[in-house]
């Protein structure tokens, strides 16, 4: 059997096993309207997806993942609760690493369900965990929701919290914002000068472009208000850092986060969710005393996952990308649903990597 047909056969087996778990098989188009993906992921998607176009439909992208089309399909005519599986190629532009595949198969399992989200998290994770068991992979888990709750709990302006939430997935800018809001780094000279001016718009160059004077003035007002806001206390910065540095087995992580919640009560609901999820995982036979948990896991490359996140790695093959990844993406359904939303959690396995690592049989 050629490599390609071996991968197809593995994909078919995986999909069949997901169907046996109650998932309904679905198909999506390979060409996806670029606009939706661009709006969702921003300019970064252009670096990752192949863009093509025609005169009728305009810009389109070769499917970079299944999540968006599956969510759209569900929101248009899905019954609730729903559970789907799919199998097919995704396409990723590679600009830097010739070793990385630009076309590969994904087999997914997605659950849309309003009740008992932790049970749904545990269901998706344990099905993928059990499927991949023969490969002896390391599972990494995290929970973006804990960090979001920590940001929500800061004693500072709503504007600052919004800025921090917006950059949860960009750790460098998140850190820069924390440093500035806490007064650890001084205000840039140019901003200090601007804030000290009585009439900053007088005598400047003509106003050109679509960003109008009122927008400029409203940002200056926001900056003035921000300058008058007290810095985020060292104590709270230390708590954020404490949350971010939690990295141990899940049971220890839970007790560590419970300790932090004593001083930062807003993370308590998120910590309770973690506790319920670990219970649900144990019920499904996962040993949480051996399951890694990292509070900052998923921050750099999994935008739109906003709760539980996970990935499976071949530890003796650090050159390979994760064999499977997934998580909860309620925010994505909110965004695509334009007002409607449905809690959703799912994951994908790459059958090509499964085959490369020796297969499941």
């Amino acid at each position: 059997m050629t490599q390609r047909s071996a991968i197809r056969a593995e994909a078919a087996r995986l999909r069949a096993s997901f169907e046996a778990e109650g998932a309904q098989p679905v198909e999506t188009a390979i060409l996806q309207p670029a606009e939706v993906l661009l709006d969702l992921y921003g300019e970064d998607i252009r670096a990752r997806a192949y863009v093509t176009s025609d005169a009728l439909r305009g810009e389109q992208m070769l499917r970079p993942d299944f999540t968006v089309p599956v969510v759209q399909m569900h929101m248009e005519h899905g019954a609730e609760p729903a559970c789907y599986t799919y199998s097919g190629e995704v396409f990723r532009r590679q600009e830097d690493d010739p070793e990385r595949a630009n076309e590969y198969m994904q087999v997914g399992f997605e659950v849309f369900e309003r009740d008992a989200p932790e049970a749904a998290d545990a269901r998706v994770f344990s099905i993928i965990f059990n499927t991949l068991k023969p490969l002896g992979l390391r599972a990494a888990t995290g929970d973006i929701g804990v960090l979001m709750a920590a940001v929500d709990g800061l004693h500072t302006s709503e504007r600052r919290k919004r800025a921090l939430r917006r950059h949860i997935w960009r750790p460098r800018r998140f850190r820069a914002l924390i440093d500035r809001f806490s007064g650890r780094v001084p205000v840039p000279d140019s901003r200090a000068a601007l804030l000290s001016m009585a009439d900053p718009m007088s005598g400047v160059a003509p106003v050109i472009g679509m960003r109008q004077e009122v927008e400029i003035l409203s940002r200056i007002k926001a900056l003035q208000e921000d300058a008058a806001t007290d810095p985020i206390s060292e104590n709270e910065v230390a708590l954020i850092d404490a949350v971010l540095s939690v990295r141990e087995t899940s049971d220890n992580a839970l007790s560590h986060l419970r300790d932090i919640a004593v001083d930062m009560s807003t993370i308590q609901p998120a910590v309770d969710r973690l506790a319920r999820r670990l219970e649900a995982l144990e019920t499904r036979g996962i040993d949480v005393t051996r399951l890694d948990f990292e509070a900052s896991y998923g921050r750099t490359n999994m935008e739109y996952y906003d709760g539980f996140v996970f990935g499976f790695y071949a530890e003796n093959r650090p050159d390979l990308p994760p064999v499977a990844t997934g998580g909860r993406y309620d925010a994505l359904t909110r965004h695509l649903g334009r007002g409607r939303e449905i809690p959703a959690v799912g994951g994908v396995i790459r059958p090509g990597l499964v085959v490369e690592l020796g297969g499941l049989t």
């Binding site: 921003g42 252009r46 670096a47 830097d96 800025a163 800018r173 840039p188 160059a205 960003r211 400029i216």
Partner: protein
Amino acid sequence: MSLKLGVPSKGRLMDKTFDWFGQRGIELGRAGSDREYAGYVQGIDNVELVLLSAGEIPRELAAGRIHLGVTGTDLVRDKLGQWDRSVEELAGLGFGQADLVLAVPRCWVDVNTLDDLDAAAAAFRLKHGFRLRIATKYHRLVREFLRDNGVADYQLVDSQGATEGTVKNETAEAIADITSTGDTLRANHLKILEDGLILRSQATLFRARRAAMDESDRKTLKTLLKQLALD
């Protein structure tokens, strides 16, 4: 076989390149009429001059169809993935200096840093319903720079010329372009962000790492580098 040297086929960049080699005892020139893209090389044997558009030289180097080439570092870095695996920088030639910079309207008194740009982009998207547009032809470099610096809520729009005019024409809110003196930016009521320097570029002599060479080519290259005092 002969060693192929790619040089920009017209303008100041070509003239300056010819001068640079000339000062080192190698005379390059265009053969025949001004319209004919063929060249000659004197002062060294077995080197063939290939006249190309400066924008195509990175690709030709990466493919190994030319052994050496003169072009801007900006073009090499924008067009080639893992550029340092496919080409080697032999020498900066001391001309064609230009900085790739991020510029915004001068009237944006509230935007002086990338931090400001990011915040302005967020507000702009909320108000206008689309991402703040940055016009450029250097998509890869600009995207990587903004990603490394954690700027969000922007989009790149392609502009192959007259980029400084796009803001006034309302086809973009900001630009990323090459500037040497900044005069064009000023004339178009734009200013450079304090931390908006994306890349310093100059005309540079590159060697293709993957170009096939036989024994005599290697000898020619050695002689050439010696004559250029780059050995």
